[in-house]
Symmetry: C2
Subunit: 330 residues, 2 copies
Amino acid sequence: MSKRLNISKSTISIVLNGHGDEKRVSKDTQETIIKFAEENNYRANQLARGLSRGKSDMIGLVIPNISDSFYARIARRIETKARLSGYNVIFSSTGESKERESELIESMLDRQVDGLIIASTQQNEEDILRLKKSNFPFVLIDRRYPDIETNFVGVDNVGGVAMAVEQLVKMGRKRIGFITLKPGLEAIHERLVGYQQTMKKFELEVKDGFVHELNYETFDEQMPAVFEIMLNSSNDIDGIVFATHFLTASGLREMKRRKVLVPNEVAIVSFGQMSAFDLVDPPITSIAQPVEDLGGRAVDILLENLKDGITAYKQEMLDSSIEVRKSCGA
Amino acid sequence: MSKRLNISKSTISIVLNGHGDEKRVSKDTQETIIKFAEENNYRANQLARGLSRGKSDMIGLVIPNISDSFYARIARRIETKARLSGYNVIFSSTGESKERESELIESMLDRQVDGLIIASTQQNEEDILRLKKSNFPFVLIDRRYPDIETNFVGVDNVGGVAMAVEQLVKMGRKRIGFITLKPGLEAIHERLVGYQQTMKKFELEVKDGFVHELNYETFDEQMPAVFEIMLNSSNDIDGIVFATHFLTASGLREMKRRKVLVPNEVAIVSFGQMSAFDLVDPPITSIAQPVEDLGGRAVDILLENLKDGITAYKQEMLDSSIEVRKSCGA
DNA sequence: TTGAAAGCGCTACCAT
DNA sequence: ATGGTAGCGCTTTCAA
């Protein structure tokens, strides 16, 4: 292009990057360049541009699993917002593996992403710490490291589960169980705390058989045993809060198998939504997390950091809302 | 690194790219380099590497919407498989906008992706044609351009809908309606054909009020009117096939509102799944598309093209299966 | 067996 | 107002 126009590539670069006026390139030259670029469908090589400028205009998204609707919705919002500011997003799923997470973060850094948004396995202190120490811009979402101060956007898990328990209490339930995952994630821990606090607040007993912490990989197989215990005469559960949308689905399947009447015999509330929960038999009361906002805020914070540097860490806890449907006894 | 080791960067590059033996670099030097790299946590700048090699090891994924579980599942598989071959994926959602699709494709090309996987709006002949003419490696998924020969992986829409209709026929239904989207997508057209052919095969009449083609954006609002017509005395529908999972959900909501008994009064089958369809009241019979395979085959084909060049275009139609549940009258 | 040098396509600084 | 030049960090060819 430079040759065929007899204009130096410096000038061309300036004009094409929109600094023509500012750098006092003559109107004439500017026009010539822009016209030629359009006609020849000229497009800058972003690899070269990135290498030269020391920034790639890409942000990396590291999540457990893009096919989980929770993360997919977040990804959608992140992507849309990022593009408005000229960024593309490159994503990868860790499958909840610490090793993979570590590899993926490395790989994204190799690609010179300008920033990262990470829903961590939360077993990867080293990388997070390293990112922090090197002052690399990143935002943690949904999963936080309690001992590391970083940017973070999550939901109010304690408050969300509190709403769930309260709803069951309002419906007159007293022997309320909690089906959750094995600890390891702060968010999961907080949900347990939310359950315990609220039970205490209403002076309800939490028996041994009330709380079940299942494996992330095998919860489906564990479900029958869980209900065996929850429904036995000594526990005689009349309400259950599920800590995630997929636990709800799994639990409900088991309850159908056992022909447990929901909500008459056992009322349930799900922390987290699924798209057809309103069509389920019975329609599921659920705590709706502000998923899109979560993604949106994460990008906002990241972009601020990219623009102004990392001045202070922001931590935001977004509030959930409850969608009351029949399953809770309403 | 070159300086501190007193080894030229050429040699270093050779060793770090695993060509040490092949290029007869002494064991000693190789060891020194590798050791140093590991200790100092050296990682190559992929922007520079890409610029130099003329390839980025990135593939671009352009889809309508990452938060649609159909595409999210595809994306997951693509990502996983691509990584096994050393590729990262950068994705973007078009929101079914032709303009955005065009921009996104451009943007990915600017980023020097090595190949593209596209679920097109199917209104973007120019770009697809341009890609094809420039011999750029790409694979179309789910949505094809009938007039352009390209790589393509999709599902057998005709056969899938045929299964759906047949199932209803088996259950004794005769006045079977079809709720679908406005034409524009080949896949949607094929589903209609599948419906019509199968109705004909069983010598069932297709009345005017049997087929409804809704807008992609406003199907929810149109649904009441649709059922008004379908359920009136002259049509008196006793079975419905929905052309997509979200139409099913929307239709079912309307039927619940009207207290239509499913399947007694109207039996239904969904083309396409949703995660909780087995928990819905009644459980939904659905045609399960081999979504993961679709993504997998797309990557396979793309990687072949990347490796061997584009020799011939592959078109693959994957078979669906039916998951029979109560909603069809079973 | 190793190194020097050119070049990938761009940006940005310094001259003119 | 415009151009020359030096990189950005890597790969690759050619010499030594």
